[in-house]
């Protein structure tokens, strides 16, 4: 089936077409919700972020000029709101809450190994500073280029890479530490 472009849906929504708006939301709300879930750590916060971003998006829909992809523009809003929420709610103090998050998988035996690795990765990601976690999130989970991330965060591409590699290094160190701990347990 023919899929309308984001730009076409925006143009229709700006003319008051509610179904176009709904299509646009349906297309991006999952990515926004999981982005919030990974970054903020709870369903409530992710839901708040999703609603907040959609409200801001709805208010500023007419300001999208098409200079970048719509998704990149949308995540520019989402990044700003998420970082704002992290600052206000002092997310780093609530790591315990993140640790108590239920596993994504319903627990099928064949997925246990994979789940264990995912859980480990997610736990380590949560322990990173917010700016570094955000860069990894945008790079690996949202598939943005370094230039797009730099544009969204209004920083230079080199700064983005610097945060990216610093995050990978910390993650590596932590993974190594985890590996050592696991080896010691055995």
């Amino acid at each position: 089936m023919f899929k309308r472009s984001d730009e076409s849906l925006i143009a229709k929504a700006l003319n008051g077409d509610q179904s176009a708006w709904q299509q646009l939301v349906n297309r991006h709300q999952s990515a926004l919700f999981y982005f919030g879930l990974r970054l903020l750590g709870s369903r409530e916060d992710a839901n708040d972020l999703l609603q907040d971003v959609l409200m801001v998006l709805c208010r500023n829909l007419g300001q999208y000029r098409g200079d970048s992809s719509f998704k990149s523009w949308l995540f520019g809003i989402a990044n700003y709101r998420a970082m704002d929420m992290l600052r206000r709610r002092k997310y780093s103090d609530n790591d315990d809450e993140l640790a108590e998050m239920p596993a994504d998988s319903p627990g099928l035996p064949e997925q246990l190994a994979s789940d264990r690795q995912q859980k480990q990765v997610q736990q380590q990601l949560r322990s990173l500073p917010a700016e570094q976690r955000l860069v990894l999130e945008l790079k690996f989970y949202q598939q943005f280029t370094f230039d797009e991330i730099a544009s969204q965060l209004a920083i230079s591409s080199n700064t983005v890479k610097s945060r990216f590699y610093a995050a990978l290094d910390k993650l590596r160190l932590q993974l190594e530490d985890d590996h050592v701990e696991q080896s010691a347990n055995f």
Binding site: A13, W21, Q22, C58, Y165, L168
Partner: protein, 214 residues
């Protein structure tokens, strides 16, 4: 940018395979570790999500922001405009509604013929008025001329009479002068001669009352 960083970024962009990248970076522990971590995160990113996205009624915020209530459309202005246009068309077209004796008649008038008739009628009226005026003018002229002729005749007659009288007076005067002159000539030339021929009593003696016979 180091060569390893370039290789790593090429791998991130999908330009080289995992195997090629691993082979190229295996001698550099830092970059190889980064690659392994990145692979672990990529695996996590590709894993399906089982967390349900909460329902959120985004249509309400959209309706509040972008949808305007549809204006209550009134047909009166359109009807008024349509009737005005119809009235204008009827007034401009040759069609003519006529209410006569309680019945409405639609007639298709020829405006050109009406104009021609009106022009002919106006011209005819003008022609008649002009003719009447000319007749009046001629009458007036004739009356004026006649009265002037009468006056001229009277004047001429008076003048003629005066001239004739003057001529007669002059003639009478002339005749009297001539007679006087003849009488004087007779007295001077023929009376003495007469007196010499016969007695005075034998001669006819002219008097004031006539001739006295001798």
């Amino acid at each position: 940018m180091s060569n390893n960083q370039q290789i790593f970024e090429d791998w991130l962009d999908g330009k080289i395979t995992d195997q090629q990248c691993a082979t190229a970076l295996q001698h550099d522990a830092v970059w190889y570790g980064r690659m392994q971590n990145a692979q672990a995160i990529q695996t996590d990113a590709k894993a399906p999500h089982f967390e349900a996205v909460p329902d959120f009624d985004s249509s309400a915020i959209f309706a509040k922001q972008w949808q305007r209530p549809k204006p209550q459309r009134s047909w009166w202005p359109q009807l008024s405009l349509a009737l005005s246009c119809a009235a204008m068309l009827i007034s401009l077209s040759p069609a003519k509604f006529q209410l006569q004796d309680g019945s409405l008649t639609l007639s298709w008038q020829n405006s050109q013929n009406e104009i021609n008739n009106a022009v002919s009628h106006a011209l005819l009226t003008y022609q008649k008025e002009q003719q009447q005026w000319l007749v009046q003018q001629l009458d007036t002229q004739q009356q004026s001329t006649s009265s002037q002729l009468v006056l001229l005749k009277d004047y001429l007659q008076d003048e003629l009479k005066r001239d004739q009288r003057s001529d007669m007076l002059q003639l009478v005067e002339y005749l009297n002068q001539q007679r006087q002159a003849d009488w004087q000539y007779w007295q001077e030339n023929y009376q003495p001669m007469q007196a010499g021929y016969r007695p005075a009593s034998n001669y006819y003696s002219p008097t004031n009352t006539g001739v006295v016979k001798p």
